[in-house]
Structure formats: C-alpha cells, structure tokens
C-alpha cells in the first residue's frame, strides 16, 4: 500500500509543471515624536505652562491637552487668543486656556490690550445745580497762551493761581498808559 502511495506521489511530481517564482521583501518605516513644539507669541503679558513662563517656544508631550495661563501686565487685559491660527478667545476662562490634545507643532498667539482709563479732564465733568442756588452763567474767555486752552468763568480761580496773559492785552495796556502819560504832559504844558 505504501509503495503504491509513493509511486502515485512520484507520478504527480513528475507531471506538475515547474514554475519559477521570485520574491523580495521591502521595509517601510516611520518615527512618531514624543513631543511637539509650540511657538509662543505674546504681547502685553506672559504665558505660563505648568507654572513656568513660556519664552519663545515650549515642548508639549504628544497627545497632551496643555493648560496655558495667560498673565497680562499691569494695566492690561486679554484682547485676543489664537491657537494654530484659529481665534479661541471665547474658550478662555479665568485667563486660562486648555488646548486640544496635540498631534503636531503649533503656534499660540496672545494679544493683551491696555485697559481703558477713566478721563479726569475738568471740561468733561458734568456740572449741576443744587436747589436754591442760581446757576452760574458760563462764558468762555480765552486768557491762556498755551495752545488756546481756555478757562471758563465757571472755573473757580483761587488766589495764587497764575495765568498766561495774551500779548495783545499787554499792548493795549501799554497804549493806554502812553495815552495817559501824554495827556498828563500836555496839561502841564498848557498850564
């Protein structure tokens, strides 16, 4: 029985058509970095990550959601925040921003703006009247020489205050004085 089986297998091998096949292997590879670089561009303040002030760029661990603290300078407040070119200002809470898990290098741009100051100029103050008091008549008279800034009569002038006098006024006074002197001298001559 075995001999028959071996004979049959030998016949099959002899009858098979030989075919030459060639094979070769090719390698494909890649590297995925462990961290990514985030460029930090800030105006009017600083940015902190993990409590450390970020200078030009920081390294963030791949797939990590990094928390950024936005610290404005004194007198400044947050204006705009851009992350990878997108405006994410609305996502800022308590001057903190949590970025999505990072997959590639990115850019964080923070813009702080100066807080608007309240104006203290007297002309802008509203003047009111109290019952029983006759309101003063406001009449602006330019008596200054510094760029035409004037003082209204409604402003109180205290003793010791100095004010610049127009040159024209001085000429008028001079002319009047000369006229008086001349008239006085004429009277003496007549008399």
């Amino acid at each position: 029985m075995k001999k028959i089986a071996v004979l049959l297998m030998t016949l099959i091998l002899l009858c098979s058509i030989p075919m030459t096949v060639y094979a070769d292997s090719v390698r494909i590879d890649t590297d995925v970095p462990a961290s990514h670089s985030v460029m930090v561009d800030v105006t009017g303040g600083t940015v902190k990550a993990d409590g450390v002030v970020c200078k030009d760029q920081i390294a963030v661990e791949r797939q990590k959601s990094q928390l950024y603290e936005l610290v404005p300078e004194k007198g400044y407040q947050l204006d705009k925040l851009y992350y990878n070119g997108q405006d994410v200002t609305s996502l800022v809470k308590d001057n903190q921003f949590v970025a999505d898990p990072i997959h590639a290098d990115g850019v964080l741009k923070v813009l702080f703006k100066r807080i608007a100051e309240k104006s203290t100029h007297p002309s802008e103050q509203s003047s009111g009247t109290t019952p029983g008091h006759t309101p003063e008549t406001k009449k602006d008279t330019e008596i200054g020489t510094d760029g035409g800034q004037g003082y209204s009569e409604s402003q109180s002038v205290k003793t010791g205050d100095t004010a610049a006098v127009d040159l024209g006024i001085w000429l008028i006074f001079l002319c009047l004085a000369l006229a008086v002197i001349i008239s006085q001298s004429k009277r003496k001559v007549v008399s």
């Binding site: 075919m19 094979a23 494909i28 590879d29 890649t30 995925v32 970095p33 997959h103």
Partner: protein, 158 residues
C-alpha cells in the same frame, strides 16, 4: 588460470566498446529535401520593485517608487505577474499592539495595489503609501515598521 583469462577477455571487451563509433545510414531518394532547424529561447525578464522607504511623520501620502518590467523576452500570451503582500499596519518597535494603518495604492488609479501583469519592457505601475490624518493623530510616539513582499512569477496573460 581460467579466471584470469576470463577477466582479461572482459577487460578487452570493455576497451573495445569504448572505441566504438555509431553510424546511421539514411536513404536519400534524390530531389529537394527540407531540413527543419529549431531552437528555443528561455524567457527572461527583469523587474524592478520599490526600495526600503521611510515615511515622514504626518505625511498622508508618500512616494513608493514603482513596479516596472525593465526588460522582457517572454513568450506570446505570457506575462510577468507581480503580487504585493502587505499587512497594512506599521507596528511599534516597543509594543506591537500599537500600530499605524497604511495602504499601498497605485498613484494614477488611486486604488489599492494587490498585483499587476506586465507584458512588455517599460510597463510599470507607480505606487504610493497612504496614511490618513486620523491614523497619524491616534499614533503613539515611537518607531514603526512593516515588511512587504513582492512576488514575481511568469504566468499566462489575462
């Protein structure tokens, strides 16, 4: 003595058979006769396949050279078949459970390259390696690799 004689005669017979010359006689009837001359040329061909390739990080498409029948001397009705065996996943060197999926596609057709038949020298298929952005984003840090196999065979043309 008898044995020696027999041995000597046998040896002489062997030597005589070595010097024999075969001769064949052919009857020639006269007139024209055709003689058939035959020869055979074994098929030969040269196939070039892509070399080892490094895919840049976050690259969604990477050039993967081409499969090309550089030279061919093949029988009519025959073709050179090239088959690609690829797992489709780059495996992390430290942890093979972490993988990055990829596909080897034909550049022009955009379809996945599984095999191709080439009949004439110069026939070629340009290839590329495609990895989706989602696959890159999900990839853990580390080195990844895979080995693909190109098998070349001589087959009947489709």
């Amino acid at each position: 003595m008898t044995r020696k004689i027999i041995a000597a005669v046998s040896a002489a017979a062997v030597v005589a058979s070595m010097g024999s010359i075969s001769a064949f006689a052919v009857d020639y009837p006269g007139g024209k006769q055709n003689t058939k001359i035959t020869t055979s040329i074994d098929p030969t061909f040269t196939v070039s396949i892509p070399a080892d390739t490094t895919v840049a990080f976050n690259a969604e498409t990477t050039d993967f050279s081409e499969v090309k029948l550089v030279s061919a001397q093949i029988d009519p009705g025959k073709a050179v078949k090239v088959e690609l065996d690829a797992s489709g996943t780059l495996k992390n060197a430290e942890d093979d459970t972490k993988t990055i999926a990829y596909v080897v596609n034909e550049k022009e057709a955009g379809t996945q390259y599984v095999s191709g038949q080439y009949k004439a020298a110069g026939d070629a298929t340009a290839l590329k390696i495609d990895i989706t952005k989602a696959a890159w984003d999900a990839a853990f840090a580390g080195s990844y690799s895979d080995t693909v196999t190109f098998t070349v065979s001589y087959v009947d043309a489709d």
